[in-house]
């Protein structure tokens, strides 16, 4: 026989104004199973909570009902109080007689009657509450960071410095990402390589960081605290343990004319190569698509047609027959930092994007994009930092910079703002003027968006000190005119057309989500927005979390981001991961479904409807040990407690704790006590 205590709150006058709280307490006193009932001015106050604790001890109550405000308001408060009194916290429930009664009714009689019903209903529920323990899930204190750009590196370093192992995977041959391609960075103009390279090395040498380059995520299983990640190590053809990065193979390789991805096509590379001199790790990858030997193999030639790199390698590190291999890593948290790609306006455009044929990109050699200019301006670039135009290698005397190519243009491109272009175009203009003093830099912009510490000062400097001409307006057409590049634009401030005979044009093309991001998101069961950027859990309050617990997001894979933002996000994910790892076990409300194996027939209908894939099929064995059937099993770590499985279970063999059939049945029954 349960002994339940009912505590009716006045909430000052919020409840007692319309509900006769004494009457409620009185009525409940006589309710079967109620051992104690009283009313009090403020139940949530310390004396109020004390009242509950004392009552529990004095009347050794088996359950507690607080008739007060919404459980969303104070359930935790009172459960804590009950817990302190030595009663299991889940034996306490709240009857909402404020939001759902006193505040929405005027007639005192009606309100009081309703309040009594509500209290009774909850009393009936509590009669069937079970003492429960909060669920504890073990946490694997290792993190996976996907993407070795600045965001990924930062996140990995923060977590590793916090004393936890990190698995950092990068799909390219070297970490560094786009930042390693940049010349100098706004607003301070410090050399990108100079600030990044040390970080790359640090990450590489960090005892807590396990680095996989030339690798990709194959599959992800499990849940927060307990992920299993399958990683595909793409065939490198170079033994990473033997290679000492001497570069002899590169020198020996006869295929030297391959456009270098790192140089954005402005430089050349060999078939076996490290993407750039400062690559980390400094271990080459053999590009089988372009390698003579593999071309020969594809043709099915009997003997190998090349092998120079293998001959050249004194360490014998080169192996033409390596294949993709797979490794599994157990981690407790995942940080996604896959970054962005540049909107390639010249080539085929995906659904919904028209492209800019009229800008001549791809046809006019001296029309280049932002990354290409970065390479031109970079001391380690193909021109050793000299600004020379691709077509004839001469120094351009007039350079036009076009903002918002693709961005903020729903008609043809993408509707969002790529955020970094205003700043890097200003930087480009500045860098150009620093290198070509007698040159003319003209930038066409829509709006100058320089919101950021020192950003506006920076763009002003480009204009005022370095004399870059900023024209507010769009460019309608760019085309070749002899050895010039004609740019037709419109100056909306002066209201006149502008025609510029430029030597080179730099298009500030939009930032786009990386290829394959949707597939990755699927593997991680996180969602992406219409543009393929990963959705954060809450745009304001949970910016680096995703809607899948244990998966976090940093940098430009979430939205266009500049370096400081990416780094900040990365450190934020670091902090999130650390706090997740701060406990050995995760605590969760025990609102999870439990299967009755005696009556379950294993139809797995529950598995069909589970939004979290928490239901597994489990074999059951007879006494003699042979498998005699299968039943459903709900993984408490994954179950979030929606109870959909229970509603579809024909034989009623699933019970959702804290909302069991018995509890609900009793609530429904209680309602027939209406007078």
């Amino acid at each position: 026989m349960s002994r339940i205590g009912v505590f009716v709150c006045h909430c000052g006058e919020n409840i007692s104004r319309t509900v006769d709280v004494e009457a409620v307490a009185e009525a409940l006193k006589d309710h079967p199973g109620v051992a104690f009932a009283t009313d009090y001015k403020y139940m949530c106050s310390d004396p109020g909570q004390a009242l509950v604790r004392e009552a529990i001890e004095e009347n050794d109550l088996t359950g507690v009902v607080i008739a007060a405000c919404s459980p969303h308001m104070h359930e935790k408060t009172f459960r804590r109080a009950v817990d302190q009194a030595g009663l299991n916290q889940f034996m306490c429930e709240m009857a909402n007689i404020r939001e759902h009664c006193s505040w929405i009714h005027e007639d005192r009689a009606d309100a009081t009657a309703k309040a009594i019903d509500i209290a009774r209903t909850i009393v009936e529920k509590v009669k069937h509450n079970q003492p429960l323990e909060t669920i504890r899930i073990p946490v694997t204190k290792r993190a996976l960071v996907i993407g070795g750009g600045i965001a990924g590196i930062q996140a990995a370093l923060d977590i590793a410095d916090g004393g936890h192992e990190v698995v950092l995977i990068e799909k390219e041959a070297s970490i560094g990402g786009h930042m390693s391609q940049l010349s100098e960075t706004f607003p301070t103009l410090d050399c990108s390589q100079c600030i990044l390279t040390p970080r790359m090395v640090e990450a590489y040498q960090h005892p807590n960081i396990k680095l996989y380059t030339w690798s990709e995520v194959e599959s992800v299983d499990g849940y927060i605290g307990n992920f299993t990640v399958k990683i595909r190590k793409k065939a490198r053809s170079v033994n990473e343990d033997l290679c000492n990065g001497c570069g002899d193979c590169q020198a020996a390789c006869p295929v030297k004319k391959i456009p270098s991805e790192f140089e954005a096509g402005l430089g050349k590379r060999t078939a076996i190569s490290v993407p750039f001199p400062q690559a980390v790790p400094n271990i080459p990858v053999l590009d089988r698509q372009n390698c003579t030997l593999f071309k020969g193999r594809r043709k099915g030639l009997a003997k190998e047609v090349c092998g120079k790199c293998k001959e050249a390698c004194l360490k014998g590190a080169i192996d033409y027959d390596t294949e993709d291999t797979f490794v599994e890593e157990a981690v407790g948290a995942i940080v996604v930092a896959t970054g962005y790609k540049l909107y390639d306006i010249g080539r085929e455009q995906p659904e919904g994007i028209k492209g800019y044929g009229e800008y001549g990109y791809g046809e006019v050699p001296d029309v280049i994009d932002g990354l290409q200019f970065e390479r031109l301006a970079s001391a380690s670039g193909p021109t050793a930092g000299a600004i020379l135009r691709p077509s004839d290698g001469t120094e351009p005397k007039t350079v036009v910079f076009v903002h918002c190519v693709g961005s903020r243009d729903p008609e043809k491109g993408i509707k969002y703002c790529s955020k970094i272009c205003c700043m890097y175009s200003a930087k480009h203009a500045m860098l150009y003027k620093h290198k070509v003093h007698d040159g003319r830099a003209v930038a066409f912009y829509m709006d100058l968006r320089a919101a950021g510490k020192g950003y506006d000062e920076f763009s002003r400097r480009a204009i005022e000190e370095d004399g870059a001409e900023f024209v507010r307006g769009r460019v309608s057409r760019i085309f070749r005119d002899g050895d010039k590049v004609k740019v037709w634009g419109y100056d909306t401030l002066n209201g006149e057309q502008v025609v510029i005979d430029a030597d080179m044009v730099v298009l500030a093309t939009a930032m786009r989500a990386q290829d394959g991001i949707r597939e990755l998101a699927q593997k991680l069961s996180v969602s992406t927005d219409e543009h393929g950027f990963i959705n954060e859990a809450h745009p304001k309050l949970r910016p680096v979390e995703t809607n899948t617990a244990g998966v976090f997001v940093a940098g430009a894979c979430q939205a266009p981001r500049d370096i400081p933002e990416s780094v900040a996000m990365a450190s934020a994910t670091g902090a999130k991961v650390m706090s997740l790892f701060s406990a050995d076990e995760l605590e969760r409300e025990p609102a999870v479904a439990i299967v009755n194996e005696n009556t379950c027939i294993g139809c797995m209908r529950c598995a069909d409807v589970c939004p979290y894939g928490a239901v597994e099929q489990r074999e059951i064995c007879a006494v003699d040990g042979h498998v005699c059937g299968h039943v459903a099993y709900v993984n408490p770590g994954v179950c979030q407690g929606c109870g959909t499985c229970q509603a579809v279970c024909l034989s009623k063999s699933v019970e959702l704790q804290t909302f069991t059939d018995e509890q609900i049945y009793s609530e429904i029954n209680a309602l027939c006590a209406w007078e």
Partner: protein
């Protein structure tokens, strides 16, 4: 029909001897296959129909010599798939089963496969091409189907060439005749009546229920070990046979079959008090067909409508 009818007559004569008429090639084929399966030991028992004095009835054939007992004609109304129901583990104990099935019955097998209650390898299915069955199986010999004696559910049968079976015997059969009143027509007639009359009709029907649960026991798809109706704590469905509990039971039975019922009509045929359950079952089929464009088939891969959803499902009834 006449062919099967005559075929049945002879087998009615017993062992295919007397009776005068000849056995249909279909039945001959059926017996051949059954015999081979038993002889080869591919199956331990063949479950089919045999001829009995008062009509066709289920038979378990374990001896190849007795394969000639097997018949098929319009009197073979029973859905033998009920013997595959996991609740009947005593049948499973006989060993691997060879089952004779009509097109409608096969759908129930698909249902069991769909719900992981049966392995395809656990059973050999011998399909019989069927031209419809009688509403009432208790006839000394099969007679030609007429609008008055045909089982209404056979009208518009959509599985006359079952795909799921291992063997398919008999020649293609003519369409079953249109019954005097189709089930859909009866439903339409009922729906033309005002709510009060419908309520009166059904509560009257359900109040007859004696809670023998024959409908449940015979249903090939009522697979639960412990039926919700037998569950206490809480007892959602009052067990004593009074109008209120009966209503809960019948609503629950219906909902549990939504999107699953294959319309074999056995529940109604077995109901000792004659509750027109096929009206409810058919109505359910209409609902899922209209709302979710779903018609139960004999494809085990088919995704059942309940337990599935589309983002743009109709919700005209929701505020």
């Amino acid at each position: 029909m006449s062919e099967t009818a005559t075929g049945a007559k002879t087998s009615g004569g017993g062992g295919g001897g007397g009776g005068g008429g000849e056995i249909t090639p279909g039945v001959k084929e059926l017996r051949e296959i059954a015999r081979e399966l038993l002889e080869a030991g591919d199956v331990r028992v063949i479950i089919g129909w045999e001829d009995a004095r008062r009509g066709a009835r289920p038979v378990f054939v374990t001896d190849p010599a007795e394969a000639d007992k097997l018949i098929f004609d319009a009197r073979c109304v029973h859905n033998l798939v009920t013997y595959l129901n996991p609740r009947r583990d005593h049948v499973a104990e006989l060993g691997k089963i060879g089952l004779v099935v009509k097109g409608c019955d096969v759908k129930a097998v698909a249902g069991l496969l769909r719900e992981a209650q049966l392995g395809r390898e656990d059973v050999v299915l011998i399909g019989v091409r069927c031209g419809g069955v009688l509403e009432e199986n208790e006839m000394p010999a099969a007679v030609t189907l007429t609008p008055d004696n045909v089982a209404p559910r056979c009208y518009g049968c959509d599985n006359r060439e079952p795909a799921l079976v291992d063997h398919l015997v008999g020649e293609p059969q003519p369409e079953p005749p249109r019954p005097a009143q189709t089930i859909d027509e009866r439903i339409a007639a009922l729906e033309d009546k005002p709510l009060e009359e419908r309520w009166a009709f059904w509560t009257e029907q359900f109040s007859k229920c004696v809670r023998c649960y024959a409908c449940r026991q015979v249903c090939p798809l009522c697979v639960c070990e412990r039926c919700v109706a037998d569950k206490t704590r809480p007892q959602w469905i009052e067990s004593s046979p009074h109008a209120r509990g009966n209503l809960s039971w019948n609503i629950t039975r219906a909902l549990h079959l939504a999107g699953r019922c294959v319309g074999c009509g056995e529940c109604e045929r077995f109901c000792p008090v004659g509750i027109p359950l096929s009206l409810v079952n058919r109505k359910l089929q209409q609902i899922v067909a209209e709302r979710y464009d779903y018609t139960v088939s004999d494809d085990p891969e088919q995704v059942a409508p309940i337990g599935d959803y589309r983002l743009d499902d109709e919700q005209e009834f929701i505020k």
